[in-house]
Amino acid sequence: MTSMQAVPTPDATDDEVPILQLAAVRAGYGRIDVLHGIDLELRAGEVFALLGPNGAGKSTTLAVCSGQITPSTGGMFLCGRDVTGVAPDALARAGVCLIPEGRGIFPNLNVLENLRMATFTGHSFSQVLDLAFAQFPRLGERRKQTAGTLSGGEQQMLSMARALATEPAVLLIDELSMGLAPIIVEELYEHVRRIAASGLSILIVEQFAHEILGLADRAGIMLHGRLLHTGPPASIADELADAYLGAEHETPAAHPSQ
């Protein structure tokens, strides 16, 4: 249940209102809290990389941002408006789009049928196809192919195409590289780089930092459900090894000012 009292409000002193903000969010599954007070800001047109080892709470953070998990305390804000507890489908229609871990395509449907799913935002099917095939021409060649028989990279492209066809304002990407060969990951990140250049606000979760730090404007390291460090990718890179190798940090930066 959402706490109706004492929901923190966004920082009013900042000139630029973040397009997405989590303020002191605690959330989890049932009675088990996975996130222990996350403060995160995504500014308009920014790429924010959320890094951390397995089980750090990165995917749960995205689940909160997409409305799939309601914070037990704390708040979520879009353009400064409290949207804590808004249904995930309403957020998706508004323009918050999640590309889930494991692609989230319908494997027994073909490419066209999968793309038809993106018409829920009100775009016509032909519009969706134009947008999808313009970004990923390879999908156009395989439009009648059953999605489950596509290669891992193509399935990920389909997932991205379906998301982009809805013309989101905020894109949440969960573990793009999961189960894919490095060369495919590199190709996919090239697409993300292009998408990022168009000015879309992207919150991207990754376990493997190498590719993502190159394209992020800012990055954060998560560990044990807490956002330990945020800052420019260059400053984060030094902290990464410690986070992954299990070194504990008891520094003032444990709750950085955004």
Binding site: S3, G148, T149, I195, G199
Partner: protein
């Protein structure tokens, strides 16, 4: 990101941002209705119990009706009894509606996962056979 939503500098246009802000402003904040069906089911069960309690009390009142106004009291109790049964029926409908929605939601998720699993197995088998 059509051209209409991307300006000359390749950045997301302010119109898309404004459109997003307008969409966000329209969002209905439910205050944490993370599981509306469960809440609906609970309301349904509550109403059903309440309805039956009203009906039973009305029935007892009708049985107890004595004296000169017995017929009037019995009629009043009868009306309350019908109201109670009506409330119970509404409760059952609300409970059934939410329970079925909840069941179907889980059923379709399970179906999607099963089919995904089966397709992956099939694709793997086809690749192995080559």
């Amino acid at each position: 990101m059509t051209d209409a939503h991307t300006d000359a500098n390749g950045t997301m246009s302010s119109s898309r941002l404004s459109q997003f802000e307008a969409e966000v402003a329209k969002l209905k904040v439910t205050g944490g209705g993370a599981n509306p069906e469960r809440l609906g089911s609970q309301w349904g069960i509550g109403l059903t119990i309440l309805g039956f309690v009203i009906a039973i009390i009305a029935w007892w009142s009708a049985l107890d009706a004595k004296g000169d106004n017995a017929a009037v009291s019995a009629l009043r109790a009868e009306i309350f009894g019908f109201i109670g049964i009506g409330v119970a029926i509404v409760g059952i409908v609300i409970w059934a509606r939410n329970s079925i929605t909840r069941y179907l939601r889980y059923w379709i998720i399970r179906l999607v996962y099963e089919q995904r699993e089966q397709t992956e197995q099939l694709v793997q088998a086809l690749r192995d056979s080559k």
